[in-house]
């Protein structure tokens, strides 16, 4: 970083654009990035509802979700693979629910392989899916668009 700082002082900095101004702009941006990161890690993603916090079973389920690489095929809030359905609300969706999820995890279904999990592991995975479902709704089917190119639910679901 010493060398990097040397660049940012006058000798190696860019000419014509104002070395000092350039340095200030660069560090202001980095400072704002640090501030934004701190807020994102803490208050801005704090849950308004305690249901959003994962309990022990759900945290074990989250680890299993990674170990089985479920994200290769499935999504939360539209983020993940496209071979299988989005799982954000699978435990609360009409015609599905925790038992449905548990059965699919145990036996597989269509393209979904049998994961050969234990009953405890299946329970942990379902606990995780229930915790995710408690965070919000996806997909969004509200078409209340604003003049600013946003939509109402984007404003109302903010914690």
């Amino acid at each position: 970083m010493v060398a990097f700082n040397k660049v940012l002082d006058g000798s190696n900095g860019p000419s014509g654009f104002g070395v000092h101004r350039h340095r200030v702009v660069y560090f202001v941006l980095v400072g704002l990035f640090i501030l934004q990161s701190g807020l994102t890690y803490t208050v801005s993603t704090e849950a308004a509802s305690p249901a959003v916090e994962l309990n022990d079973a759900a945290q074990r389920g989250e680890a299993l979700y990674r170990e089985f690489n479920c994200t290769a095929c499935h999504q939360f809030y539209g983020l993940g693979g496209h071979m299988g359905p989005d799982l954000t609300n699978v435990t609360v969706a009409a015609g599905k629910g925790p038992d449905f999820a548990r059965a699919v995890i145990f036996h597989g279904s269509g393209l979904m392989p049998n994961l050969a999990v234990s009953k405890e592991q299946a329970d942990d995975l379902v606990a995780f899916l229930e915790a995710v479902a408690a965070t919000g709704t996806y997909p969004i089917r509200s078409l209340d668009l604003t003049p600013w190119g946003t939509y109402e639910q984007m404003h109302s679901d903010a914690k």
Partner: protein, 467 residues
């Protein structure tokens, strides 16, 4: 006569082999959407991470190879430590083999795009630290002001390490105990991480343009620094368009929306630049690297257009979670990054190129266009039926099947084109008759490059105003 194998060439050759393997797993993965039991020894849960990790490795290896290759030529001194560069390569490749083995064995543990066990991230971070050290020890000897591409590389190498560390914060319960926080921080890190490797790739593009035109004013103009600043701002704050539907704080998403819209400036500048280039009657057709640079401009234009549209929340509502996002990701990594990196590889290697390599260029670009359009079509149909109807996932999948079949077929064409290009690139890299390999200090006489071989896609007319 064989050329001397340098760390830079070692990185680039490893990158090319990585691309070939990654593309092969991509073909397998795409056909598994059409024929579920296709190559069932490597199920989709394995083929997808193998494809993604190897293609990302291609981008890193080749971009870093470019930095190791060009940096001494730019600064005018040898690399600070060739031994450290070799060590970097050895650790990176050794870790790469461990990652591949973990996927084949079904040992996951990481998150999307980095699904390997998190312990393997430690040697990746350590080897990257060697690059940072080597980079700054060498770059610090540069006489005079830094051109924009050195700023881009410096920022890219440092911010990659920062954002890679951030991408591993999920190892702390504070992050995984809250899914909203977990998803937000994950995509914050991924957005910035992508931005950091883009800085490495775009910096390389600027170097190739400078060295092929001989116009050193391009990377030292106010406009170049301004565009770097804009890109850096987007890297830092423009990531949240990935998570518009995630119920995090509103300001996070609105800030990203506002920042993303500044990229219209880049788009407007591109159109202006393009018009100037076209008026000059130059389209980069005389050399292979020139063609790749021109192709990268086309892909930047197309992908930036899509990126800007999907950054508008009302449009994102339909595009998010669909193949439109895949088209954007593939268009960026293949269309932009890969074309720029091939331009760099063929500029490093040689200016002459054989018929099969020329054919590879056209097969690659033609197939990629079909591939990209199929993904966009699938995404638009899926987005419409997801938002406007209650159709179940299976029914929507049936509706997009023709697009997915087209995507799988064009993937074979893409693999064929890439194979021809990789073969041609390996041949010229292992030969020695190229100017860019240069003298001991790597300084290349730009005037030695014939005018007809200079990269014409640079906006000389525009840039003359900046001098």
């Amino acid at each position: 006569m064989r050329s001397e194998l340098t760390p830079a060439k070692g990185f680039v050759i490893s990158g090319l082999l990585s691309l070939l393997c990654g593309a092969l797993f991509g073909v397998i993965g795409s056909w598994q959407h059409v024929l579920p039991n296709f190559v069932d020894a490597i199920p989709f849960v394995k083929s997808r991470p193998l494809h993604v990790s190897l293609v990302i490795a291609w981008i890193f290896l080749t971009a870093v190879g470019g930095v190791y290759h060009y940096l001494p030529k730019i600064v005018g001194v040898p690399l600070h430590s060739t031994r450290l560069a070799w060590l970097h390569l050895a650790v990176f490749i050794g870790t790469g083999f461990a990652v591949i083995a973990s996927y084949f064995l079904g040992r996951f543990g990481g998150r999307e795009y980095w699904e390997f066990p998190p312990a393997l991230g430690i040697p990746i971070a350590l080897s990257w630290s060697l690059l940072i050290y080597n980079f700054f020890r060498t770059a610090n000897k540069h006489k005079g002001p830094w051109p924009a591409y050195l700023w881009m590389w410096a920022t890219g190498v440092v911010f990659f390490l920062i954002t890679y560390a951030e991408a591993n914060l999920y190892l702390f319960p504070h992050f995984t105990s809250n899914m909203v926080r977990e998803l937000t921080v994950q995509w914050k890190a991924y957005g910035a991480l992508t931005g950091s490797w883009n800085l490495l790739v775009y910096g390389t593009a600027m170097v190739v343009m400078e060295r092929s035109t001989g116009n050193t004013a391009i990377a030292r103009s106010k406009l170049a620094y301004l565009l770097f600043g804009l890109g850096f701002t987007n890297l830092l704050f423009g990531w949240a368009h990935h998570i518009y539907p995630v119920p995090s704080a509103l300001w996070i998403r609105i800030l990203a929306y506002a920042i993303s819209m500044t990229e219209w400036i880049i788009l407007a500048r591109m159109i202006h630049q393009w018009r100037a280039t076209m008026e000059d009657g130059k389209n980069g057709s005389s050399t292979l690297f020139g063609r790749f640079l021109f192709a990268s401009e086309v892909w930047v234009f197309l992908n930036l257009g899509v990126a800007l549209l999907i950054s508008i929340p009302a449009i994102n509502l339909f595009a998010h979670g669909t193949h439109v996002i895949v088209a954007h990701a593939m268009g960026s990594t293949i269309g932009i990054n890969t074309t720029i990196l091939f331009a760099s590889v063929f500029f490093i290697g040689e200016r002459a190129h054989s018929g099969p390599t020329r054919a590879g260029f056209w097969i690659f670009n033609g197939s990629l266009l079909a591939f990209w359009l199929c993904l966009l079509g699938a995404g638009i149909v899926k987005g419409w039926f997801t938002v406007m109807t209650d159709l179940p996932f299976q029914k929507i999948t049936e509706k997009i099947w023709p697009f997915i079949a087209g995507f799988a077929v064009s993937g074979i064409g893409l693999f064929t084109g890439l194979s021809l290009l990789v073969w041609g690139a390996l041949k010229v890299l292992l030969a020695s008759n190229n100017k860019e390999e240069g003298d001991a200090h790597g300084t290349v006489e730009l005037d030695a490059i014939p005018v007809e071989n200079r990269c014409p896609s640079m906006p000389e007319k525009v840039m003359q105003h900046q001098r």
